[in-house]
């Protein structure tokens, strides 16, 4: 019989658990992109626990502070350091790919083998045959390491947003940029908060308190969603809407605002293209070259009601000044060729379009009662309204239409560029030092200023060509010029040409029925016209040979399922290299797996975004587990090995994809700039100093300061276009409110018309009847089946990153679940916990059912993040998602519709797939 427990001993054990010898700051650098600041307590090289530091300063006594900035994933992060799926040493596949047989090898062996493959690929196919999946996971030091390596050898990096489709195309179509998110504390300033296509109670936990605080402050919170989500619970109103019909709902509200004369006329006239003149027959803008021999093609016009004459819509300001542009009317113009053109305004076209969306007609589509549509339109038109949107719309085939319709709601109600308004998504900001570093050849301020002066010179030259362009517009222009020489490539082309998507994307039944040609014909047309010239990588004639997945997990995430990768791409690859801290599904299918250090095991910075408008820092609390190394060290060592292999294989000098000379000579030294950037601290320090130079961090910013406070608030938007997109002055005692430059200073938008643009008069958009926004049902992706499968982030993990976290696993059912309504469950004879099969013409997956009253009949929800190996036959929900790409996003070289890293590009859709279900067993 065991002796009774010694109470004193267990007491001291308990106390010992809470004794530490070191406290550092940590954040988690995950896809949550939050910058929560934790205190990490460790002893004897082991992390004991973490807790939110809650040290964010209150910047304004009338606005709640950011604290505590935390979530349960972060609070259990330390459990993962020694988690069951943690990678501890380099592994080489010992059996067939995916068979699960591994051998432990040394770093030297692993890196030599990878280097051999890289050099062979360069030698035989060229450097573009080495392909990296970009990621936003892992933090900036992770990204910096592989991007630097890829850039030096001339490899390809597949644009992360083309992979994860967090790109709200409708924002870009409307504003010429997608980053229009204010800082999260601006939510508190809203009078009406629309939680629309998002579920912040699950997915934005650190910031959800602003919603509740705004309610205390008198705001009305309305959740618009098909399911009664966790966010609906904290709302004043819940508007149940049929999945994928949000555009109809929004346009119904727009119709009410116009019919009841609730719209903000001055705002509409100044901020949007709605008063611009169009040819009444063709619905094309009247351009300079229609009416004036000397005017440029991108000159647009108004009709001035004061003079009753055609006037130029200025390109350098949104301010109409003394002009009173007409919204309504038709007029006749004499074109340059002498013909008479009947002209009207975009506003008139829009009004006509909205005739299809009376509240009654919209209600028939979206299922929301017409009275609710009316009431909400009236409320929004009279109150400061903010849409809290995530990246869900971006994952719908017609998400761009939903987003354009949401933007129209905001335009008519005058709801951007003021406190508590706008549309919340994501905006990049702040750490200019990171951007500058990418261009620096050596350390220090002289090199920084040399680069900054060089950028200024280049901007000045661009300004000579476009004197009326804003800094933001010129910044984008400059970025465009650098693109072709960079490594970034929109991945849709890679997927189409190399990953077997041809058949799927050309399936007309799964596409928009309004497509007049096959996807392939549009694609060929776009390529032939050179719209994506220099960006389709690997270029024709180059087969991918080596795939690097650094902190990314395509086998789990790939839209359209892993089969395209495993069946088509994988057999063509000589080497698949995974650098990760845990044995992900992709690692299980790799040839070489390299163990990476996790957060708390190395210094790192979180991505700079506007959510908290602070730079998040994670320090090294403990050494990396096992033999794990930081990505910086891994790619530094790999650079040396590649150089060695280049010598051995007599392949030191070669040409990149643009036929520019490249060399592997001195690669190891070049990677670290001759030892200048030999470790993370040196790099962070340089980024901080350079950000101070660029004015985006306060002058006291330093590693020491980060180690004292855990984070530092940014002070400016910086000198690069993505930061400037926020278009606002940063004040030290105010939340960041996007777009005030547009509304207060009348700074133009970076669109073709220099205004928020609701008419896209591109022939492809016109052909699709999407030149003006409208509702379209989600195409019949997957086939003709009764249930619509949707998704979203779960509460328990950010993607799959916390799947192996045992503490978190104890807080949910810890196995994949499909949630369906009680009514559908009854129809299909399914009970809670039953094993069911979901299937369509694309594929099938077996999964447990969760039956819930909160789901709308006709819908089935599988939250994202489950690893494929958690399903029978590795078939998870992406087995039934075709991952269709909307063909209109192949359009380029139309004003602002052109590729930008992380921005405009064709992205796959993975939400709103049609399936049927069948009960298999209990």
């Amino acid at each position: 019989m065991a002796p009774p427990p010694d109470k004193r001993a267990s007491g001291s054990q308990y106390r010992d658990r809470w004794s530490w010898d070191k406290v550092t700051f940590g954040t988690h650098c995950l896809n949550c992109l939050a910058t929560c600041s934790y205190r990490v307590y460790s002893a004897n090289g082991k992390v004991l626990f973490e807790e939110p530091s809650a040290l964010f300063e209150q910047i304004n006594p009338d606005v709640p502070d950011m604290n505590p900035m935390a979530c349960q994933k972060g609070s259990a992060w330390s459990q993962q350091i020694e988690g069951p799926d943690r990678l501890l040493y380099p592994l080489r596949r010992a059996g067939e790919r995916g068979e699960g047989k591994w051998e432990q090898i040394s770093w030297d062996e692993a890196l030599t083998e990878v280097a051999e493959a890289v050099v062979e690929a360069i030698d035989l196919e060229g450097p573009e045959s080495v392909v990296f999946e970009e990621t936003v996971e892992g933090g900036l030091l992770t990204q910096a390491a592989y991007l630097r390596f890829a850039g030096l050898i001339g490899a390809v990096t597949l644009d992360a947003n083309g992979l994860i489709n967090d790109f709200p195309a409708g924002h870009h179509i409307t504003f010429g940029k997608f980053s229009c998110a204010s800082s999260q504390d601006d939510t508190f300033n809203g009078e009406v908060l629309l939680i629309w296509h998002s579920n912040p109670a699950y997915t934005a936990i650190p910031y959800a308190h602003f919603i509740t605080e705004a309610r205390y402050n008198g705001a009305e919170v309305i959740t618009i969603a098909p399911d009664y989500s966790a966010s609906a619970v904290i709302s004043d109103k819940y508007v149940p809407i049929k999945a994928g019909t949000d555009a109809a709902f929004a346009l119904g509200m727009c119709k009410v605002m116009i019919d009841e004369n609730l719209y903000h006329e001055d705002f509409v006239i100044a901020q949007t293209d709605l008063p611009l003149l169009v040819n009444a027959q063709t619905r094309r803008f009247i351009r300079g070259n229609d009416v004036d021999n000397h005017a440029p093609e991108d000159q647009f016009y108004w009709w001035d009601t004061k003079t009753d004459a055609l006037v130029l819509a200025p390109r350098d300001t949104l301010d109409p000044g003394a002009i009173k542009p007409a919204l309504e009317g038709t007029w006749e113009l004499t074109a340059l060729d002498g013909s008479t053109i009947s002209v009207t305004t975009v506003w008139e076209l829009m009004r006509k379009r909205l005739q299809d969306y009376t509240p009654e007609l919209a209600s028939e589509i979206c299922g929301v009662h017409p009275d609710v549509i009316r009431t909400m339109a009236r409320t929004i038109a009279s109150k400061r309204t903010k849409i809290l949107e995530g990246f869900n719309t971006a994952k719908y085939y017609h998400g761009d239409l939903m987003e354009r319709a949401m933007c129209l709601v905001l335009a008519l109600s005058g709801n951007w560029g003021r406190k508590g308004t706008g549309i919340q998504g994501l905006a990049l900001a702040g750490l200019d030092g990171y951007q500058l570093w990418g261009m620096k050849q050596k350390k220090g301020v002289m090199e920084t200023i040399r680069v900054m002066d060089g950028i200024d010179d280049a901007m000045a030259k661009l300004r000579e060509q476009s004197p009326d362009a804003t800094d933001e517009i010129l910044g984008y222009e400059l970025l465009q010029r650098g693109l072709v020489s960079g490594t970034a490539s929109p991945p849709a082309f890679f997927h189409y040409y190399h990953c077997g998507y041809e058949e799927t994307w050309n399936n007309a039944e799964w596409s928009d029925p309004e497509m007049k040609r096959s996807f392939e014909e549009y694609l060929d047309d776009a390529v032939r016209r050179g719209w994506w010239g220099g960006l389709i990588k690997p270029g024709s004639g180059t087969d991918p040979s080596v795939l690097f997945c650094v902190a990314t997990n395509p086998i789990r995430r790939q839209r359209g399922g892993a089969s395209g990768l495993l069946d088509t791409l994988w057999p063509t690859l000589d080497k698949i290299v995974v650098v990760d801290n845990r044995m992900s599904a992709t690692a299980l299918q790799a040839d070489i797996v390299l163990p990476a250090a996790m957060q708390y095991e190395r210094p790192n910075l979180q991505y700079a975004i506007t959510h908290s408008f602070s730079l998040g820092f994670s320090d090294q609390a403990v050494p990396p587990q096992g033999e794990a190394k930081t990505e910086w060290e891994i790619f530094s060592l790999l650079s040396q090995k590649v150089e060695e292999q280049g010598k051995e294989q007599d392949c030191l000098d070669y040409q990149d994809g643009r036929r520019q000379p490249k060399t592997l000579r001195g690669l190891g030294e070049t990677f670290t700039a001759n030892g200048t950037w030999s470790n993370e601290e040196d790099i962070i320090n340089e980024w901080l100093q350079d950000s101070i130079e660029a004015g985006t961090l306060p002058r006291n910013a330093s590693l020491a300061e980060l180690r004292e406070k855990g984070q530092i608030r940014f002070t400016g938007l910086g000198m690069f276009a993505p930061g400037l997109s926020l278009a606002t002055d940063v004040k030290k005692d105010e939340p960041v409110t996007a777009f005030t430059w547009h509304t207060e200073n009348f700074v133009p938008f970076p669109t073709l018309t220099r205004r928020a643009q609701f008419l896209i008069d591109h022939p492809w958009f016109a052909e699709a009847d999407e030149d003006l926004v409208k509702h379209k049902n989600p195409p019949q992706m997957g086939g003709d089946y009764p249930l619509l499968l949707t998704s979203g982030h779960s509460r328990w993990t950010i993607h799959a990153s916390a799947m192996g976290n045992e503490v978190l696993a104890g807080t949910h059912r810890a196995e994949p679940l499909a949630t369906l309504s009680q009514i559908d469950a009854k129809t299909y004879g399914i009970e809670d916990g039953d094993l069911i099969e979901i299937r369509n013409d694309r594929g099938s997956a077996k999964i447990r059912a969760k039956v819930a009253g909160r789901i709308m009949p006709g819908q089935i929800v599988i939250y994202n993040g489950w690893e494929p190996h958690m399903f029978e036959g590795w078939k998870g929900p992406n087995s039934v998602e075709p991952g269709m790409v909307k063909w209109l996003h192949l359009v380029s070289r139309y004003g602002h519709l052109r590729y930008l890293p992380f921005g405009w590009q064709p992205v796959p859709a993975d939400r709103a797939v049609y399936v049927e279900v069948e009960r298999l067993s209990s």
Partner: protein
């Protein structure tokens, strides 16, 4: 969230090369720091002679001739009976080693303000490196030594004056402000007080107080 590639952008020029300049108020500030740097390096025979001759204040005034503000460097000379060896020994006693329980007025910034000296040195060295100076392990003086910091201020002010790019000039100007505020002015005040309390030669009391006073006045000037 990505690193720009501006490979296509040709950026010429090397800002490490200074432009030729006439002496002006900024080079004057640089000159004053240079003189203080020489004053606080472990004194050799020449320094001793200058001290005996009462030339150090004069040298400072000469350097400060074009200074844009008034500063009184005072007068100081060393008693002629103090030999060069004693002068040096006193420097070592007061600033470097003391007589058993450490120097009464350490001449390194990391000894003041209750900070972790190693971290302080790291921070200072990083600052030097970013602005173009490196410290080497074989340098006998640590980066937070008063003479080294004076030389750094001399360098920063000169670079401001001789900058080929206005933006770089602004950077060096700002760097001086930051360095004075974060690394220099505060500890110098403490240092001067300790020297005064160290029962040392009046010459060193003058030197420490004058350097501390100048640094403070200079910071005010820079900010104005």
């Amino acid at each position: 969230m990505f690193v720009y590639s501006l490979d296509g952008l040709k950026i010429d020029g090397d800002l490490a090369k200074d432009v030729e300049i006439e002496d002006n108020e900024i080079t004057a500030r640089s000159g004053v720091y240079q003189t203080f740097g020489k004053l606080f390096i472990a004194p050799d025979a020449e320094a001793h002679q200058l001290a005996v001759d009462g030339k150090w204040p004069e040298k400072l005034r000469e350097a400060a001739e074009l200074l844009a503000y008034d500063f009184d460097f005072g007068e100081a000379s060393l008693d002629g009976s103090v030999s060069a060896e004693d002068f040096q020994a006193e420097y070592i006693r007061v600033f470097d080693v003391g007589s058993g329980d450490g120097p009464p007025a350490p001449i390194v910034g990391g000894a003041y303000g209750g900070v972790d000296r190693r971290k302080k040195m790291e921070e200072v060295a990083r600052f030097f490196e970013y602005f173009g100076l490196t410290t080497t392990p074989d340098d006998p003086r640590p980066p937070d030594h008063l003479a080294t910091e004076c030389e750094f201020m001399q360098y920063l002010a000169f670079k401001e004056a001789a900058s080929p790019s206005p933006r770089l000039g602004v950077s060096f100007h700002r760097a001086q402000d930051d360095f004075l505020e974060r690394q220099f002015v505060d500890w110098l005040q403490e240092f001067a007080a300790k020297v005064e309390a160290a029962e040392t030669m009046p010459f060193w009391v003058w030197a420490a107080k004058t350097a501390a006073g100048f640094a403070k006045a200079d910071m005010q000037h820079i900010r104005s």
